[in-house]
């Protein structure tokens, strides 16, 4: 039997004005288990807390009920008081007689009656409370970053600078990501490579950072502080230690007509290749699907010319298993496929390109060496049409419902750069809305219009048709003039919607991180926890969480790093003790609870059970208390009633129900 003390707070006159606090205390004394009851002016004050501590010591109390304000306000205060008094903090329950009673009921009789019932419910619950101790779990002081774009690089640098080991896993042969494909960046127009390359070099040179390129995450197990991850290092066919990065192999490779991924298919690469000049690591990869040696067994030219003897055709995928305390997802984005957008003639004409392809065309290291020219015939264009929102803000199955956020700004950038370098080129932008919130962003867009005389037309393009003279007939509408526009353009640039990188759903599944209908990873709270996944220990960096530009990505990358550092800095994690627990005697191993658990906290183990003298091995649920967040979904779904939630057990809640309905 518990020895319970009930402490009724006046809260000045906040409670005492409409609740007869003395009567609440008197009635409380009549309840089972209650051996002490008193009321006081301010229970939360130091003097009030001392009253609790003294009563605990004097009367040997085992449980405490405080009738006061909301537990969201002072539950922690009173739990700490209990701790100071030498009893378990989880032996405290709060009856909320302020927010839920005195403040809303004007009639004192009515208020008092309700306060008595609320106190009764709390007393009934405390009678069944058990001391709970937060669990402890260890923290591996190492972070994993999935994705080696600017988001991943920045997060890795920030974590490593704080003194923790970081591994980056990047699926392509080099880090750098989308940013390395860009030519210039808005709104300052500085060259993307010039600001990115130093960061890539820093990451590669950092003694705390280890980079796995051409690698993928294969398997994730464990939980916050203690993840175990299998990383598949895909066979590069090159010995990375021997390779000097001289590039002779790529030069001599006879298979040269493979569309370059880095140049978005606009240029070619060889079968053995480094994606771009500043690639890190500067070690090539053999694309086995296109390599003559791997296809026919003949050739082997690269091996002959390699003086370092680094070519290794026998190399196999290698799987390394590593432990991590925190995982940051920075998988980034791609542009959507345009196969469903026939009206823009993207698949019919080489002169219709996406904005990301235009970045490559404008780039000095790109397929045209930075000269703006038509890809069909190499001619200098006179008329260029930009089309905004291609697939963005589109609720049909063709597109994406969201705004891709970056297109308005990069289109203004492209238009401005073209008008600056080639003043003879006419540039028209068809837009639905121009969305340029951000520091110096709207000024930038206005500069494109006012200084560079880019022709912005409010309206969409209905059709792009290749003409016999090689030009493109663009049929659009000017909604403000209410007229249709026909333009003969030399090039059409499509501001194509962005979408999360294709592999992200698989990664989210491995991490049990939640993902939305658009395949963006969900944050733990949209406003207050924007860089954390609801899965503890998993953090989000960059576009994998939602469309964003480079400054926002870098800011989020830093925020994710800080959250990861905050976790890695701890030696041990205290876990919420209000977790689910399975009664092994009742559990029949049906897996229903594991299916509803949003955190993947329930596993099954084969365990020897002593069921009233019968010893047998059964498959039973085991809750990982480090992962369980205590929602209780499993407790209700369990068909045999084996699952219960500590701190909110079935018996406790039923006791409250009984006390209220009595």
């Amino acid at each position: 039997m518990q020895r319970i003390g009930v402490f009724v707070c006046h809260c000045g006159s906040n409670i005492a004005a409409t609740v007869d606090v003395e009567r609440v205390a008197q009635y409380a004394l009549l309840e089972p288990g209650v051996v002490h009851a008193e009321d006081y002016q301010y229970m939360c004050s130091e003097a009030g807390q001392m009253k609790i501590i003294e009563a605990v010591k004097e009367k040997n109390l085992t449980g405490i009920v405080v009738c006061s304000c909301s537990p969201r306000m002072h539950e922690t205060t009173f739990r700490n008081a209990a701790k100071r008094a030498g009893i378990n903090p989880y032996m405290v329950e709060i009856a909320n007689i302020r927010e839920h009673c005195s403040w809303i009921h004007k009639d004192k009789e009515e208020g008092t009656e309700k306060a008595v019932i609320l106190a009764r419910a709390a007393i009934a619950k405390v009678n069944l409370n058990t001391p709970l101790v937060p669990g402890e779990s260890r923290v591996t002081k190492r972070a994993l970053i999935i994705g080696g774009g600017i988001a991943g690089i920045q997060t890795a640098l920030d974590i490593a600078d704080a003194g923790y080991e970081v591994d980056i896993v990047e699926k392509t042969p080099s880090i750098g990501g989308r940013m390395s494909q860009l030519d210039k960046t808005f709104p300052t127009l500085d060259c993307s490579a010039c600001i990115l390359t130093p960061k890539m070099v820093d990451a590669a040179a950092h003694e705390k950072i280890n980079i796995y390129t051409y690698s993928e995450v294969d398997k994730v197990s464990g939980f916050v502080g203690d993840f175990t991850v299998d990383i598949r290092k895909k066979a590069r066919s090159i010995d990375m230690d021997k390779c000097t990065g001289c590039g002779v192999c790529s030069e001599k490779c006879p298979m040269k007509k493979i569309p370059s991924e880095f140049n978005r298919g606009l240029g070619n690469r060889s079968a053995i290749y480094t994606p771009f000049a500043q690639a890190i690591p500067n070690v090539p990869v053999i694309d086995r699907e296109n390599c003559i040696k791997f296809k026919t067994g003949k050739c082997g030219l690269c091996s002959t010319v390699c003086q370092a003897g680094a070519i290794d055709y026998e190399q196999e995928d290698e799987i390394i298993s590593e432990k991590y305390g925190a995982i940051v997802v920075a998988t980034g984005f791609d542009t959507i496929k345009l196969d469903d957008f026939d009206e823009y003639a993207y698949n019919q004409s080489k002169d219709v390109i996406t904005s990301l392809e235009l970045e490559r065309v404008m780039n000095a290291a790109g397929p045209t060496k930075g000269h703006l020219e038509r890809l069909s015939d190499g001619k200098h264009p006179e008329e260029i049409v930009f089309i905004q929102c291609v697939g963005s803000r589109d609720v049909t199955c063709r597109g994406k419902e969201y705004c891709s956020k970056v297109c308005c700004m990069y289109t203004a950038k492209h238009a401005m750069l073209i008008r600056d370098k080639y003043p003879d080129v006419n540039v028209t932008v068809f837009y639905i809305d121009v969305r340029t919130p951000g520091k110096n962003f709207d000024e930038f867009y206005r500069r494109a219009v006012e200084e560079y005389n880019v022709n912005y037309v409010k309206g969409q393009v209905g059709k792009v048709a290749p003409m016999e003279n090689g030009k493109l007939l663009v049929q659009g509408v000017d909604l403000l003039d209410n007229r249709q526009i026909l333009k003969e353009a030399d090039m059409v640039v499509l501001a194509t919607a962005i979408e999360p990188e294709a592999g992200v759903r698989k990664i989210a599944t491995m991490l049990t991180a939640s993902i939305d209908t658009n395949d963006f990873l969900t944050e733990a709270h949209p406003k207050l926890r924007p860089v954390e996944s609801p899965t503890a220990g998993v953090f989000l960096s960059g576009v994998c969480q939602g469309p964003k530009d480079i400054p926002e990505t870098v800011a989020q990358a830093g925020a994710a790093a800080v959250k990861a550092i905050g976790l890695l800095a701890k030696d041990k994690l205290l876990t919420n003790p209000c977790t689910a627990q399975a009664d092994e005697l009742l559990c029949n191993g049906c897996s229903t609870c594991a299916n509803v658990c949003p955190y993947g906290a329930i596993a099954y183990e084969e365990k020897e059970i002593n069921d009233h003298g019968i010893r047998e091995t059964r498959r039973v649920a085991a809750v990982n208390t480090a992962l369980c967040q205590g929602c209780g979904a499993c407790t209700v779904t369990c068909p045999s009633g084996a699952m219960d939630l500590q701190g909110f057990s079935n018996r406790q809640i039923l006791a409250e129900v009984d006390a209220i309905c009595r």
């Binding site: 929102c389 803000r393 609720v395 049909t396 309206g459 209905g462 049929q475 509408v477 909604l479 209410n482």
Partner: protein, 124 residues
């Protein structure tokens, strides 16, 4: 109310329109129309149905449904135009065939669409 009838028959929710102009940009009869396809949506929103009933556009629309096909918000202004046209036709009830006559005129060679619109015409 006639506005509600139009919404019901056409299945169009004009509030979904984000005024991008894709419909008017796609329309092959744009220059022949007095009220442009994208304007149909706002006319319905503003309950200016009389103007639509009198408009030249309902005769000029080719029912090519390019606007329906390409509308990014699923508003389908072509269906609105078609509906308004139906309203006008229905008002002139006397000039119409009777439903019995329709079945007599059935011919396997007839396009499905014609059949459907004939039935729609006689639904009331």
């Amino acid at each position: 109310m006639i506005q509600d009838d139009i919404k019901k028959i056409s299945g169009v929710n004009p509030y979904k329109c984000m005024k991008c102009g894709k419909c008017s940009a796609s329309c092959p009869s744009f220059n022949e129309m007095d009220i442009k396809p994208h304007q149909f949506v706002s006319y319905v929103l503003n309950d200016d149905i009389d103007a639509l009933l009198k408009s030249e556009s309902i005769k000029q629309c080719l029912s090519c449904f390019a606007c329906v096909e390409r509308c990014p918000r699923d508003v389908k202004p072509g269906n609105l135009i078609d509906t308004v046209r139906q309203m006008v036709v229905r008002k002139r009830g006397a000039e119409l065939l009777s439903p019995e006559e329709v079945t007599q005129l059935l011919d396997p060679e007839l396009p499905q669409q014609l059949l459907v619109s004939a039935f729609r015409r006689y639904r009331r």
